[in-house]
């Protein structure tokens, strides 16, 4: 006679079977995400489910700041006011000079027929939290594609560039910091215009200029700014200061370590800059094709969300 166990003994498939099922599901997702990037849709749905928790997590610090602000004494506010007024005076002078210089540059550009640079759109944002991932340097900010933030937009603070938006969700976006090992930014030495590419150095919080000849003309304290030749970053944003140079006679390249200008790993408020829309098209591969398309305006190629500029 056949016996089936009573339903309260029934526990579903064996644990090992379940393990194999869930592990292979996870592995399949890993491969799809790492190799083919097919999972962005799933990710953007799930991120909406996590959003309430994420915004709740930042509530204590916001609330704390509000309470502290409420109890700030009047004298403190007076002092701060005076200080800010002095700063404003200073800044407005600089702004006036900047305006004049900008107008002059615009005129000169028109003179030589160069494309007039469009004013940049800036979206202020707040850093919600650091990503809990020891293998990369990422932060999550509270503005997403609904606020006009796109993947690839540069992110700056008051002192300079801190990174680039690598994934824009509806209400949040992920910013990969300059110090991430995978992140690169084209820079220029302010003193002599020497171009280079700065890579993140990972855990040390510094940047590195790789593949610079050991006799390159660069010295300690040189300021690096974005060169703008990539089309992602607008030119002239401060990036870093050269902190240490090691020139080794046996090596063809110098080891150049730079200190980021902005508070890359600190600070709470940032600006997300809109990307310049009037950048040049990417060069074609073959010369024949180029001649055929000459004169036409080509659309800029869509770039991979995670790609370096």
């Amino acid at each position: 006679m056949e016996h089936t166990p009573p339903p309260f003994f029934n526990r579903g498939p064996a644990p090992l079977v379940r393990l194999v099922f869930f592990a292979s599901l996870a592995l399949a997702l890993l491969v799809l995400d790492a190799r083919f990037r097919y999972t962005e849709g799933l990710r953007s749905v799930l991120v909406l489910a996590v959003y309430p928790l994420q915004s709740l997590a930042t509530l204590p610090s916001t609330l704390g700041a509000r309470i502290v602000g409420y109890f700030a004494s009047q004298s403190q506010l007076h002092e701060e006011n005076a200080e800010l007024r002095a700063k404003l005076l200073d800044a407005s002078q600089a702004a006036q000079r900047f305006e004049a210089a900008q107008a002059e540059t615009g005129q000169l550009r028109r003179l030589i027929g160069a494309a007039e640079r469009l004013p940049l759109k800036a979206t202020p944002a707040e850093i919600l939290y650091n990503s809990r991932d020891p293998y990369s340097r990422k932060v999550v900010i509270d503005k997403g594609s609904q606020n006009g933030v796109n993947a690839g937009s540069p992110v700056v603070d008051q002192n300079g560039v801190i990174g680039q938006v690598t994934r824009a969700h509806a209400l949040l976006s992920e910013v990969t910091l300059l110090t991430d090992k995978e992140q690169a930014i084209p820079v220029q030495v302010l003193r002599n215009g020497l171009r280079a590419i700065a890579f993140g150095a990972g855990a040390s919080g510094m940047l590195e200029l790789r593949f610079m000849a050991s006799n390159a003309e660069i010295q300690n304290g040189d300021k690096l700014v974005t060169s703008g030749i990539d089309g992602s970053y607008p030119p002239g944003l401060p990036v870093a200061t050269v902190a240490r140079i090691e020139r080794d006679a046996t090596d063809a390249f110098a080891r150049i370590v730079c200190q980021p200008a902005a508070g890359v790993e600190s600070g709470a408020y940032v600006l997300v800059l809109g990307r310049e829309s009037n950048r040049l098209a990417y060069p074609e591969h073959s010369g024949a094709e180029r001649e055929k398309n000459l004169g036409k305006i080509r659309k800029p190629r869509k770039k991979d969300a995670g790609a370096i500029p």
Partner: protein
Amino acid sequence: MPVPFPNSPSAQSILLPARPGTILGSLAVALLLGFLPWQNIALVPDFVALVLTFWCVRQPRLVGLGAGWLLGLITDVGNGVLLGQHALTYSLLAFAASTLSRHMLWFPLWGQALHVAALLLFAQGVATLVRMAAGADFPGWSITIGPLFGAALWPLVSVLLLLPQRRPVDVDENRAI
């Protein structure tokens, strides 16, 4: 037969059944703790893994592989890492914890904490392997600090999460058993 570890909390009192609300709430709080703006990420234990381990050990029939997998997916998305990394890690962790469940509950809290240290280190090892297979560099031995802190928190977490299941002490001298 005498109970081998009379200090074990499981040997001392009979607990009320766990409510699904408590389990869901504690997992949500763990996710929330992970999203707090911590200063040094390396030193912060993985609260989700810790609470998941707790429920897999205490209620292996209610919380298991499926819950681990889903929590892992949420963690992956929230942290913007490879999709599936934590899903794999937490499934393996849930499997190991539910398998060890009967064994672990015989030990006092500090003995359980040693088991948990091994479990959390195993989970961190799996995550590291996945990331290194995807092309990341080894981030240094500081990644073992978080799991060890997590294991040190185990007694506290056990006491806190078992509180809703405790019943008022009611001493009755004349009770038969």
